[in-house]
Protein backbone atom coordinates (compact mmCIF):
# COMPACT_ATOMS: atom_id res chain seq x y z
CA UNK A 1 0.00 0.00 0.00
CA UNK A 2 0.96 3.60 -0.43
CA UNK A 3 1.47 4.53 3.18
CA UNK A 4 5.04 5.64 2.61
CA UNK A 5 3.95 8.57 0.48
CA UNK A 6 2.63 10.36 3.55
CA UNK A 7 4.86 12.13 6.01
CA UNK A 8 4.43 13.89 9.31
CA UNK A 9 5.29 17.50 10.05
CA UNK A 10 7.55 17.90 13.07
CA UNK A 11 5.49 20.93 14.12
CA UNK A 12 2.50 18.64 14.72
CA UNK A 13 4.14 16.82 17.61
CA UNK A 14 5.12 17.86 21.13
CA UNK A 15 8.41 17.16 22.81
CA UNK A 16 12.06 17.38 21.93
CA UNK A 17 13.14 17.06 18.32
CA UNK A 18 14.58 13.63 19.02
CA UNK A 19 11.37 12.46 20.75
CA UNK A 20 9.25 13.70 17.84
CA UNK A 21 11.46 12.02 15.25
CA UNK A 22 11.38 8.78 17.24
CA UNK A 23 7.59 8.95 17.54
CA UNK A 24 7.23 9.46 13.78
CA UNK A 25 9.54 6.53 13.18
CA UNK A 26 7.71 4.28 15.64
CA UNK A 27 4.43 5.08 13.92
CA UNK A 28 6.02 3.82 10.72
CA UNK A 29 6.54 7.09 8.85
CA UNK A 30 9.50 7.27 6.49
CA UNK A 31 9.72 11.02 5.92
CA UNK A 32 9.17 14.12 7.99
CA UNK A 33 8.85 17.86 7.29
CA UNK A 34 11.29 19.84 9.43
CA UNK A 35 10.73 23.36 10.68
CA UNK A 36 13.76 25.59 10.69
CA UNK A 37 13.02 26.41 14.34
CA UNK A 38 13.43 22.71 15.22
CA UNK A 39 17.04 23.00 14.21
CA UNK A 40 18.07 26.49 15.25
CA UNK A 41 16.29 26.34 18.64
CA UNK A 42 17.69 22.96 19.58
CA UNK A 43 19.03 23.24 23.15
CA UNK A 44 22.20 21.31 22.28
CA UNK A 45 22.89 23.41 19.19
CA UNK A 46 22.39 23.23 15.48
CA UNK A 47 25.00 20.53 14.83
CA UNK A 48 23.32 18.20 17.31
CA UNK A 49 19.92 18.85 15.74
CA UNK A 50 21.26 18.07 12.28
CA UNK A 51 22.93 14.92 13.54
CA UNK A 52 19.66 13.83 15.20
CA UNK A 53 17.75 14.31 11.96
CA UNK A 54 20.34 12.49 9.88
CA UNK A 55 20.54 9.64 12.40
CA UNK A 56 16.76 9.29 12.68
CA UNK A 57 16.47 7.13 9.59
CA UNK A 58 13.74 9.46 8.33
CA UNK A 59 14.01 11.16 4.98
CA UNK A 60 13.48 14.91 5.15
CA UNK A 61 10.39 15.91 3.16
CA UNK A 62 11.61 19.49 3.17
CA UNK A 63 12.39 22.49 5.33
CA UNK A 64 9.82 25.12 6.20
CA UNK A 65 9.38 27.97 5.84
CA UNK A 66 10.90 30.98 4.14
CA UNK A 67 8.47 33.89 4.34
CA UNK A 68 8.00 37.29 2.70
CA UNK A 69 10.97 36.88 0.37
CA UNK A 70 9.82 38.35 -2.90
CA UNK A 71 8.86 41.87 -3.92
CA UNK A 72 11.22 43.78 -1.61
CA UNK A 73 13.84 46.32 -2.57
CA UNK A 74 17.11 47.73 -1.25
CA UNK A 75 18.22 46.72 2.22
CA UNK A 76 15.06 44.74 2.89
CA UNK A 77 15.75 42.60 -0.18
CA UNK A 78 19.39 42.09 0.81
CA UNK A 79 18.30 41.08 4.29
CA UNK A 80 15.86 38.52 2.91
CA UNK A 81 18.50 37.11 0.58
CA UNK A 82 20.68 36.50 3.64
CA UNK A 83 17.78 34.79 5.41
CA UNK A 84 17.14 32.66 2.33
CA UNK A 85 20.79 31.65 2.04
CA UNK A 86 20.85 30.64 5.68
CA UNK A 87 17.74 28.50 5.25
CA UNK A 88 19.06 26.92 2.07
CA UNK A 89 22.28 25.96 3.81
CA UNK A 90 20.28 24.52 6.69
CA UNK A 91 18.07 22.62 4.25
CA UNK A 92 21.11 21.14 2.52
CA UNK A 93 22.71 20.15 5.82
CA UNK A 94 19.66 18.18 6.97
CA UNK A 95 19.46 16.47 3.58
CA UNK A 96 16.32 18.31 2.50
CA UNK A 97 15.54 18.72 -1.19
CA UNK A 98 12.64 21.17 -0.83
CA UNK A 99 12.43 24.58 0.79
CA UNK A 100 8.82 25.53 1.42
CA UNK A 101 8.44 29.22 0.65
CA UNK A 102 5.36 31.19 1.64
CA UNK A 103 4.24 33.85 -0.81
CA UNK A 104 4.69 37.25 0.70
CA UNK A 105 2.08 38.84 2.91
CA UNK A 106 4.31 41.81 3.67
CA UNK A 107 2.79 45.22 3.18
CA UNK A 108 6.16 46.33 1.82
CA UNK A 109 6.14 43.83 -1.02
CA UNK A 110 5.80 45.12 -4.56
CA UNK A 111 3.23 42.87 -6.20
CA UNK A 112 4.24 43.52 -9.80
CA UNK A 113 4.54 40.26 -11.67
CA UNK A 114 7.98 41.03 -13.08
CA UNK A 115 9.46 41.90 -9.71
CA UNK A 116 7.95 38.87 -7.97
CA UNK A 117 9.07 36.52 -10.74
CA UNK A 118 12.57 38.00 -10.81
CA UNK A 119 13.02 37.56 -7.06
CA UNK A 120 11.68 34.01 -7.09
CA UNK A 121 14.00 33.16 -9.99
CA UNK A 122 16.85 34.50 -7.89
CA UNK A 123 15.79 32.33 -4.98
CA UNK A 124 15.63 29.29 -7.26
CA UNK A 125 19.08 30.13 -8.63
CA UNK A 126 20.47 30.37 -5.09
CA UNK A 127 19.00 26.93 -4.39
CA UNK A 128 20.18 25.27 -7.59
CA UNK A 129 23.81 24.43 -6.71
CA UNK A 130 22.55 22.85 -3.48
CA UNK A 131 20.10 20.64 -5.40
CA UNK A 132 17.16 22.19 -3.58
CA UNK A 133 13.77 22.94 -5.11
CA UNK A 134 11.67 25.91 -4.08
CA UNK A 135 8.06 24.94 -3.33
CA UNK A 136 6.13 28.17 -3.37
CA UNK A 137 2.95 28.32 -1.37
CA UNK A 138 0.42 30.91 -2.45
CA UNK A 139 -2.28 32.23 -0.13
CA UNK A 140 -5.56 33.96 -0.86
CA UNK A 141 -4.34 36.80 1.38
CA UNK A 142 -0.84 37.00 -0.10
CA UNK A 143 0.18 40.20 -1.82
CA UNK A 144 2.17 38.43 -4.48
CA UNK A 145 0.87 34.94 -5.30
CA UNK A 146 -2.77 34.09 -4.68
CA UNK A 147 -4.60 31.57 -6.82
CA UNK A 148 -3.21 28.92 -9.11
CA UNK A 149 -3.62 31.03 -12.22
CA UNK A 150 -1.48 33.79 -10.68
CA UNK A 151 1.05 31.25 -9.48
CA UNK A 152 1.28 29.64 -12.89
CA UNK A 153 1.91 33.02 -14.46
CA UNK A 154 4.70 33.81 -12.00
CA UNK A 155 6.28 30.39 -12.57
CA UNK A 156 6.14 30.86 -16.33
CA UNK A 157 7.88 34.23 -16.19
CA UNK A 158 10.49 33.06 -13.68
CA UNK A 159 11.07 30.00 -15.88
CA UNK A 160 13.16 27.93 -13.45
CA UNK A 161 12.85 24.19 -13.34
CA UNK A 162 13.56 24.06 -9.60
CA UNK A 163 10.79 26.57 -8.84
CA UNK A 164 7.35 25.05 -8.35
CA UNK A 165 4.37 25.01 -6.03
CA UNK A 166 3.36 23.55 -2.71
CA UNK A 167 -0.36 22.82 -2.66
CA UNK A 168 -2.04 23.07 0.74
CA UNK A 169 -5.43 21.44 1.12
CA UNK A 170 -6.36 23.78 3.96
CA UNK A 171 -5.99 26.87 1.81
CA UNK A 172 -7.85 25.30 -1.08
CA UNK A 173 -10.77 24.14 1.04
CA UNK A 174 -11.12 27.30 3.13
CA UNK A 175 -10.88 29.54 0.07
CA UNK A 176 -13.30 27.38 -1.88
CA UNK A 177 -10.82 27.19 -4.76
CA UNK A 178 -12.28 25.18 -7.65
CA UNK A 179 -10.15 22.10 -8.30
CA UNK A 180 -10.23 22.88 -12.01
CA UNK A 181 -7.65 25.55 -11.25
CA UNK A 182 -5.17 22.79 -10.44
CA UNK A 183 -5.31 21.81 -14.10
CA UNK A 184 -3.61 25.12 -14.91
CA UNK A 185 -0.40 24.04 -13.24
CA UNK A 186 2.01 21.92 -15.30
CA UNK A 187 2.32 18.49 -13.69
CA UNK A 188 6.02 18.74 -12.98
CA UNK A 189 5.66 22.08 -11.21
CA UNK A 190 3.83 20.84 -8.14
CA UNK A 191 6.62 19.80 -5.80
CA UNK A 192 4.70 19.15 -2.60
CA UNK A 193 1.15 18.51 -1.40
CA UNK A 194 0.34 19.38 2.20
CA UNK A 195 -2.77 17.83 3.69
CA UNK A 196 -4.85 18.68 6.72
CA UNK A 197 -8.51 18.79 7.68
CA UNK A 198 -10.40 20.95 10.17
CA UNK A 199 -13.49 20.52 12.32
CA UNK A 200 -15.76 23.40 11.50
CA UNK A 201 -17.89 23.14 8.38
CA UNK A 202 -17.33 26.64 7.16
CA UNK A 203 -15.16 29.57 8.11
CA UNK A 204 -17.28 32.71 8.20
CA UNK A 205 -15.72 35.31 10.44
CA UNK A 206 -12.67 37.36 9.51
CA UNK A 207 -9.71 36.07 11.51
CA UNK A 208 -11.35 32.70 12.04
CA UNK A 209 -9.34 31.24 9.20
CA UNK A 210 -6.08 32.34 10.75
CA UNK A 211 -6.93 30.90 14.16
CA UNK A 212 -8.11 27.65 12.61
CA UNK A 213 -5.02 27.45 10.39
CA UNK A 214 -2.67 27.85 13.33
CA UNK A 215 -4.46 25.93 16.07
CA UNK A 216 -7.32 23.71 14.94
CA UNK A 217 -6.15 21.66 12.01
CA UNK A 218 -6.58 17.91 12.30
CA UNK A 219 -5.40 14.92 10.29
CA UNK A 220 -7.23 13.95 7.11
CA UNK A 221 -10.28 11.91 8.03
CA UNK A 222 -10.60 13.50 11.46
CA UNK A 223 -12.42 16.64 10.36
CA UNK A 224 -15.42 17.73 8.37
CA UNK A 225 -13.82 17.85 4.92
CA UNK A 226 -12.82 14.30 4.12
CA UNK A 227 -14.69 14.33 0.81
CA UNK A 228 -12.98 17.53 -0.31
CA UNK A 229 -9.59 16.06 0.60
CA UNK A 230 -10.32 12.91 -1.35
CA UNK A 231 -11.36 15.01 -4.35
CA UNK A 232 -8.18 17.06 -4.11
CA UNK A 233 -5.87 14.06 -3.91
CA UNK A 234 -7.71 12.32 -6.71
CA UNK A 235 -7.33 15.40 -8.91
CA UNK A 236 -3.63 15.72 -8.09
CA UNK A 237 -3.04 12.08 -8.92
CA UNK A 238 -5.11 12.31 -12.11
CA UNK A 239 -2.96 15.27 -13.14
CA UNK A 240 0.18 13.17 -12.70
CA UNK A 241 1.42 14.42 -9.33
CA UNK A 242 4.20 12.13 -8.13
CA UNK A 243 5.63 13.97 -5.11
CA UNK A 244 5.23 13.57 -1.38
CA UNK A 245 2.18 14.21 0.75
CA UNK A 246 2.88 15.90 4.06
CA UNK A 247 0.43 16.32 6.92
CA UNK A 248 0.74 19.98 7.93
CA UNK A 249 -1.44 19.65 10.99
CA UNK A 250 -1.10 22.59 13.39
CA UNK A 251 -3.19 21.94 16.46
CA UNK A 252 -2.72 23.38 19.95
CA UNK A 253 -4.39 20.39 21.57
CA UNK A 254 -2.03 17.98 19.81
CA UNK A 255 0.88 19.84 21.36
CA UNK A 256 -0.47 18.91 24.79
CA UNK A 257 -0.75 15.22 24.00
CA UNK A 258 2.03 12.59 23.86
CA UNK A 259 3.87 12.57 20.54
CA UNK A 260 3.30 8.83 20.12
CA UNK A 261 -0.47 9.29 20.39
CA UNK A 262 -0.49 12.01 17.76
CA UNK A 263 1.87 10.15 15.44
CA UNK A 264 -0.50 7.19 15.80
CA UNK A 265 -3.41 9.37 14.68
CA UNK A 266 -1.31 10.43 11.72
CA UNK A 267 -0.71 6.80 10.91
CA UNK A 268 -4.46 6.13 10.85
CA UNK A 269 -4.90 9.04 8.41
CA UNK A 270 -2.07 7.74 6.21
CA UNK A 271 -3.54 4.24 6.22
CA UNK A 272 -6.94 5.58 5.24
CA UNK A 273 -5.60 7.69 2.39
CA UNK A 274 -3.14 5.05 1.26
CA UNK A 275 -5.62 2.20 1.18
CA UNK A 276 -8.84 3.93 0.27
CA UNK A 277 -7.92 6.94 -1.84
CA UNK A 278 -4.58 6.65 -3.59
CA UNK A 279 -4.35 4.40 -6.56
CA UNK A 280 -0.76 5.15 -7.32
CA UNK A 281 1.15 2.14 -8.52
CA UNK A 282 3.50 0.89 -5.88
CA UNK A 283 7.14 0.98 -6.73
CA UNK A 284 8.69 -2.44 -6.58
CA UNK A 285 11.58 -2.30 -4.12
CA UNK A 286 14.88 -1.82 -5.93
CA UNK A 287 13.14 -1.54 -9.30
CA UNK A 288 15.18 1.51 -10.28
CA UNK A 289 18.35 -0.28 -9.30
CA UNK A 290 17.36 -3.36 -11.30
CA UNK A 291 16.64 -1.19 -14.32
CA UNK A 292 19.98 0.50 -13.98
CA UNK A 293 21.81 -2.79 -13.61
CA UNK A 294 19.98 -4.30 -16.57
Amino acid sequence: MNFGLFGLDSATLAGTLEARLAAARRAGFVHVMISASDVVNHPAGIDTAIESIRASGLRVTGLEALRDFEGLTGKMHEYKVDVAKSMLELCARIGGRILVTHASTSAHADSSLEHVARDLAKLAFLAMPLDIRIALKGFPWSRTVRGFSGATEVLAIANCQNLGLAVDSFDIITAGTPLDELDLVPRDQIFLAQLSDFMVQEIRLPGERDVTARHFRVFPGEGAHGDALVALITRLEDNGYSGDYSFDVYNSDYLEMPADVIAGRGRIAADWLGEMVLRRTLEVPNMKRLHAAG
Binding site: T73, K85, S112, E114, H115, R118, A121, K122, L123, A124, F125, L126, M128, P129, D131, C160, Q161, N162, K288, R289, A292, A293
Partner: protein, 294 residues
Protein backbone atom coordinates in the same frame (compact mmCIF):
# COMPACT_ATOMS: atom_id res chain seq x y z
CA UNK B 1 10.57 49.43 -13.08
CA UNK B 2 13.85 50.89 -11.93
CA UNK B 3 16.79 51.73 -14.15
CA UNK B 4 18.65 48.94 -12.42
CA UNK B 5 16.12 46.32 -13.39
CA UNK B 6 16.06 47.63 -16.95
CA UNK B 7 19.79 47.12 -17.15
CA UNK B 8 19.43 43.60 -15.79
CA UNK B 9 16.87 42.75 -18.44
CA UNK B 10 19.09 44.13 -21.16
CA UNK B 11 22.18 42.13 -20.25
CA UNK B 12 20.23 38.93 -19.66
CA UNK B 13 19.31 38.77 -23.33
CA UNK B 14 22.81 39.27 -24.70
CA UNK B 15 24.39 36.11 -26.13
CA UNK B 16 27.60 36.85 -24.22
CA UNK B 17 26.31 38.84 -21.26
CA UNK B 18 29.64 39.07 -19.42
CA UNK B 19 31.83 39.50 -22.47
CA UNK B 20 33.44 36.14 -21.64
CA UNK B 21 36.75 35.63 -23.44
CA UNK B 22 38.12 32.25 -22.45
CA UNK B 23 39.90 31.04 -19.35
CA UNK B 24 42.58 32.96 -17.50
CA UNK B 25 43.59 30.16 -15.14
CA UNK B 26 42.61 26.89 -13.54
CA UNK B 27 43.37 26.39 -9.86
CA UNK B 28 44.04 23.10 -8.11
CA UNK B 29 43.83 22.73 -4.34
CA UNK B 30 46.10 20.10 -2.86
CA UNK B 31 47.64 19.01 0.36
CA UNK B 32 50.55 17.50 -1.63
CA UNK B 33 51.86 20.40 -3.70
CA UNK B 34 55.15 18.71 -4.52
CA UNK B 35 53.53 15.54 -5.82
CA UNK B 36 51.09 17.56 -7.90
CA UNK B 37 53.91 19.87 -9.03
CA UNK B 38 55.88 16.90 -10.32
CA UNK B 39 52.87 15.70 -12.31
CA UNK B 40 52.34 19.15 -13.78
CA UNK B 41 56.00 19.39 -14.76
CA UNK B 42 55.69 16.05 -16.52
CA UNK B 43 52.61 17.39 -18.30
CA UNK B 44 54.72 20.23 -19.65
CA UNK B 45 53.87 22.96 -17.17
CA UNK B 46 56.67 25.03 -15.65
CA UNK B 47 56.69 26.62 -12.24
CA UNK B 48 57.14 30.30 -13.08
CA UNK B 49 56.14 32.23 -9.95
CA UNK B 50 55.33 31.92 -6.27
CA UNK B 51 52.81 33.87 -4.25
CA UNK B 52 54.36 36.54 -2.04
CA UNK B 53 52.80 35.32 1.20
CA UNK B 54 50.95 32.07 0.64
CA UNK B 55 51.55 28.50 -0.35
CA UNK B 56 50.39 29.22 -3.86
CA UNK B 57 52.40 28.56 -7.01
CA UNK B 58 51.85 29.62 -10.62
CA UNK B 59 52.56 27.12 -13.38
CA UNK B 60 52.47 27.99 -17.04
CA UNK B 61 52.57 26.25 -20.40
CA UNK B 62 51.94 28.14 -23.62
CA UNK B 63 48.75 30.12 -23.09
CA UNK B 64 47.75 28.15 -20.00
CA UNK B 65 48.07 29.49 -16.45
CA UNK B 66 47.62 26.92 -13.69
CA UNK B 67 47.58 27.85 -10.01
CA UNK B 68 48.42 25.30 -7.32
CA UNK B 69 46.95 26.28 -3.99
CA UNK B 70 48.27 24.46 -0.93
CA UNK B 71 46.96 26.95 1.62
CA UNK B 72 45.34 24.76 4.30
CA UNK B 73 42.44 27.21 4.67
CA UNK B 74 41.61 26.94 0.97
CA UNK B 75 41.50 23.15 0.83
CA UNK B 76 38.08 21.59 0.38
CA UNK B 77 36.42 21.07 3.73
CA UNK B 78 33.96 18.41 2.74
CA UNK B 79 33.63 15.79 0.08
CA UNK B 80 36.76 14.11 -1.13
CA UNK B 81 39.57 13.32 1.31
CA UNK B 82 42.01 16.17 1.84
CA UNK B 83 44.92 14.04 0.67
CA UNK B 84 43.54 14.35 -2.84
CA UNK B 85 44.06 17.14 -5.28
CA UNK B 86 41.07 18.72 -6.92
CA UNK B 87 40.16 21.51 -9.30
CA UNK B 88 39.24 24.25 -6.86
CA UNK B 89 38.62 27.23 -9.13
CA UNK B 90 38.36 28.50 -12.66
CA UNK B 91 39.27 32.06 -13.56
CA UNK B 92 37.09 33.34 -16.38
CA UNK B 93 38.09 36.32 -18.47
CA UNK B 94 35.29 38.85 -18.69
CA UNK B 95 34.81 42.38 -19.93
CA UNK B 96 34.26 43.91 -16.49
CA UNK B 97 34.90 41.75 -13.41
CA UNK B 98 32.94 43.90 -10.97
CA UNK B 99 29.97 44.14 -13.30
CA UNK B 100 30.17 40.37 -13.79
CA UNK B 101 30.07 39.54 -10.08
CA UNK B 102 27.31 42.11 -9.50
CA UNK B 103 25.21 40.60 -12.24
CA UNK B 104 25.89 37.06 -10.99
CA UNK B 105 24.84 37.96 -7.44
CA UNK B 106 21.75 39.69 -8.77
CA UNK B 107 20.84 36.46 -10.57
CA UNK B 108 21.25 34.48 -7.34
CA UNK B 109 24.88 33.35 -7.32
CA UNK B 110 26.64 32.91 -3.97
CA UNK B 111 29.43 35.45 -3.79
CA UNK B 112 32.63 34.08 -2.25
CA UNK B 113 34.24 36.12 0.51
CA UNK B 114 37.36 37.94 -0.70
CA UNK B 115 40.61 36.09 -0.07
CA UNK B 116 42.81 39.12 -0.61
CA UNK B 117 44.86 40.53 2.21
CA UNK B 118 46.33 44.02 2.44
CA UNK B 119 48.08 45.08 -0.77
CA UNK B 120 46.86 42.00 -2.60
CA UNK B 121 44.74 41.97 -5.69
CA UNK B 122 41.11 41.34 -4.90
CA UNK B 123 39.61 39.15 -7.59
CA UNK B 124 35.81 38.86 -7.32
CA UNK B 125 34.57 35.29 -7.08
CA UNK B 126 31.43 33.25 -6.66
CA UNK B 127 30.79 29.68 -5.61
CA UNK B 128 30.58 27.12 -8.37
CA UNK B 129 29.94 23.40 -8.18
CA UNK B 130 30.85 21.63 -4.94
CA UNK B 131 33.65 23.46 -3.16
CA UNK B 132 34.92 25.18 -6.28
CA UNK B 133 34.99 28.89 -7.04
CA UNK B 134 34.55 30.88 -10.22
CA UNK B 135 36.76 33.98 -10.48
CA UNK B 136 36.07 36.90 -12.76
CA UNK B 137 39.12 38.51 -14.35
CA UNK B 138 39.17 41.59 -16.53
CA UNK B 139 41.90 43.70 -18.11
CA UNK B 140 43.83 40.46 -18.77
CA UNK B 141 45.14 41.93 -21.99
CA UNK B 142 46.49 45.07 -20.28
CA UNK B 143 48.41 43.68 -17.34
CA UNK B 144 48.93 40.37 -15.60
CA UNK B 145 46.94 39.61 -12.45
CA UNK B 146 49.99 37.62 -11.33
CA UNK B 147 52.39 40.55 -11.35
CA UNK B 148 51.01 41.97 -8.10
CA UNK B 149 50.74 38.93 -5.84
CA UNK B 150 53.36 36.64 -7.38
CA UNK B 151 57.15 36.79 -7.45
CA UNK B 152 58.75 35.34 -10.57
CA UNK B 153 61.12 32.43 -10.01
CA UNK B 154 64.57 33.59 -11.13
CA UNK B 155 66.16 32.13 -14.26
CA UNK B 156 62.94 30.48 -15.40
CA UNK B 157 61.38 31.23 -18.76
CA UNK B 158 58.20 33.09 -17.74
CA UNK B 159 56.48 31.90 -20.92
CA UNK B 160 57.43 28.27 -21.46
CA UNK B 161 56.21 26.89 -24.78
CA UNK B 162 53.42 24.33 -24.97
CA UNK B 163 53.93 20.69 -25.85
CA UNK B 164 52.26 19.97 -29.21
CA UNK B 165 50.29 23.21 -29.00
CA UNK B 166 48.43 22.21 -25.82
CA UNK B 167 45.88 24.80 -24.68
CA UNK B 168 42.88 24.87 -22.37
CA UNK B 169 39.93 23.25 -24.09
CA UNK B 170 37.40 22.69 -21.33
CA UNK B 171 36.49 21.15 -17.99
CA UNK B 172 34.50 18.03 -17.21
CA UNK B 173 32.05 18.46 -14.36
CA UNK B 174 30.47 15.49 -12.63
CA UNK B 175 26.86 16.20 -11.65
CA UNK B 176 24.27 14.28 -9.65
CA UNK B 177 21.74 11.96 -11.26
CA UNK B 178 19.16 13.96 -13.19
CA UNK B 179 21.02 17.21 -12.51
CA UNK B 180 22.27 18.10 -15.99
CA UNK B 181 19.26 20.32 -16.65
CA UNK B 182 19.93 22.36 -13.53
CA UNK B 183 23.57 22.94 -14.41
CA UNK B 184 22.83 23.75 -18.04
CA UNK B 185 20.52 26.47 -16.72
CA UNK B 186 23.18 27.63 -14.26
CA UNK B 187 25.85 28.16 -16.92
CA UNK B 188 23.36 29.49 -19.46
CA UNK B 189 22.00 32.19 -17.18
CA UNK B 190 25.36 33.17 -15.76
CA UNK B 191 27.56 33.17 -18.85
CA UNK B 192 25.45 32.31 -21.87
CA UNK B 193 26.79 28.74 -22.29
CA UNK B 194 24.63 26.70 -24.63
CA UNK B 195 24.30 22.94 -25.08
CA UNK B 196 25.34 21.55 -28.45
CA UNK B 197 23.67 18.59 -30.19
CA UNK B 198 24.85 15.09 -29.28
CA UNK B 199 26.30 14.78 -32.78
CA UNK B 200 29.01 17.30 -31.84
CA UNK B 201 31.65 15.41 -29.91
CA UNK B 202 35.27 15.90 -29.01
CA UNK B 203 37.81 13.50 -27.63
CA UNK B 204 37.23 9.90 -26.66
CA UNK B 205 34.90 10.38 -23.68
CA UNK B 206 31.53 10.83 -25.37
CA UNK B 207 29.28 10.78 -22.30
CA UNK B 208 27.25 13.67 -21.00
CA UNK B 209 26.09 17.05 -22.19
CA UNK B 210 28.50 19.39 -23.94
CA UNK B 211 28.15 23.14 -23.36
CA UNK B 212 29.84 25.74 -25.53
CA UNK B 213 30.95 29.03 -24.03
CA UNK B 214 29.55 32.20 -25.63
CA UNK B 215 33.07 33.14 -26.71
CA UNK B 216 33.58 29.76 -28.35
CA UNK B 217 36.90 29.27 -26.55
CA UNK B 218 35.89 26.92 -23.75
CA UNK B 219 33.73 23.84 -23.29
CA UNK B 220 32.01 22.33 -20.29
CA UNK B 221 31.04 18.69 -20.26
CA UNK B 222 28.41 17.64 -17.70
CA UNK B 223 28.51 13.96 -16.83
CA UNK B 224 25.84 12.22 -14.77
CA UNK B 225 26.47 8.95 -12.92
CA UNK B 226 25.48 5.79 -14.75
CA UNK B 227 24.38 2.37 -13.56
CA UNK B 228 24.59 1.74 -9.86
CA UNK B 229 26.67 4.89 -9.36
CA UNK B 230 23.46 6.90 -9.58
CA UNK B 231 22.45 5.51 -6.16
CA UNK B 232 25.64 6.61 -4.50
CA UNK B 233 25.60 9.89 -2.57
CA UNK B 234 25.91 12.76 -4.98
CA UNK B 235 29.41 14.25 -5.21
CA UNK B 236 29.27 17.08 -7.70
CA UNK B 237 32.66 18.50 -8.62
CA UNK B 238 34.99 19.57 -11.41
CA UNK B 239 36.60 16.29 -12.38
CA UNK B 240 39.26 16.99 -14.98
CA UNK B 241 40.70 19.55 -17.32
CA UNK B 242 40.56 19.03 -21.06
CA UNK B 243 43.59 20.15 -23.06
CA UNK B 244 43.20 20.78 -26.77
CA UNK B 245 45.95 19.95 -29.25
CA UNK B 246 46.07 19.88 -33.05
CA UNK B 247 48.06 16.63 -32.87
CA UNK B 248 46.96 14.22 -30.14
CA UNK B 249 49.36 11.43 -31.14
CA UNK B 250 52.39 13.74 -31.05
CA UNK B 251 51.33 15.14 -27.68
CA UNK B 252 50.84 11.64 -26.27
CA UNK B 253 54.25 10.46 -27.53
CA UNK B 254 56.01 13.44 -25.94
CA UNK B 255 54.12 13.14 -22.68
CA UNK B 256 54.75 9.39 -22.48
CA UNK B 257 58.48 10.06 -22.77
CA UNK B 258 58.10 12.46 -19.87
CA UNK B 259 56.55 9.72 -17.74
CA UNK B 260 52.82 10.33 -18.24
CA UNK B 261 50.71 7.16 -18.49
CA UNK B 262 47.57 7.03 -20.59
CA UNK B 263 44.58 4.80 -20.06
CA UNK B 264 44.57 1.92 -22.54
CA UNK B 265 41.53 -0.30 -22.18
CA UNK B 266 39.15 -1.67 -24.78
CA UNK B 267 36.72 1.16 -24.03
CA UNK B 268 39.12 4.04 -23.39
CA UNK B 269 42.36 4.29 -25.32
CA UNK B 270 44.44 6.85 -27.14
CA UNK B 271 43.40 7.75 -30.66
CA UNK B 272 43.72 10.73 -32.96
CA UNK B 273 40.55 12.07 -31.39
CA UNK B 274 41.88 12.14 -27.86
CA UNK B 275 43.47 10.44 -24.86
CA UNK B 276 43.04 10.25 -21.11
CA UNK B 277 45.85 10.23 -18.57
CA UNK B 278 45.90 7.73 -15.71
CA UNK B 279 44.88 9.40 -12.45
CA UNK B 280 47.86 10.52 -10.45
CA UNK B 281 48.89 12.87 -7.63
CA UNK B 282 45.67 12.20 -5.69
CA UNK B 283 43.13 11.80 -8.45
CA UNK B 284 44.26 14.31 -11.07
CA UNK B 285 43.54 13.41 -14.70
CA UNK B 286 43.99 15.31 -17.93
CA UNK B 287 42.06 14.64 -21.08
CA UNK B 288 43.63 15.41 -24.42
CA UNK B 289 41.23 16.45 -27.15
CA UNK B 290 41.88 17.01 -30.81
CA UNK B 291 41.33 20.68 -31.52
CA UNK B 292 42.70 23.07 -34.06
CA UNK B 293 44.90 25.80 -32.70
CA UNK B 294 42.90 28.89 -31.74
Amino acid sequence: MSLNSLEREAVAEAPNPLGMDGIEFVEFATSKPQVLGALLEAMGFRQVARHRSREVTLFRQGTMNLVVNAQPVDLPRIGRPAAQSSISAIGIRVRDAQAAIDRAVELGAWAAPPRARAMELNIPAMHGVGDSLIYFIDRHDEFSIYSIDFLPIPDVDPKPPAIAGLAYFGVVQYVGFGRSGDWIEFYRRLFGFSPVPDTVRFGIMPKGVLLRSPCGKFWLQLVEPEGNAQFAPSDEHLNRVGLGTPDVMAAVRTLQKRGIDFIATSLVHTSERGALTVASAGGVMFELVHANAP
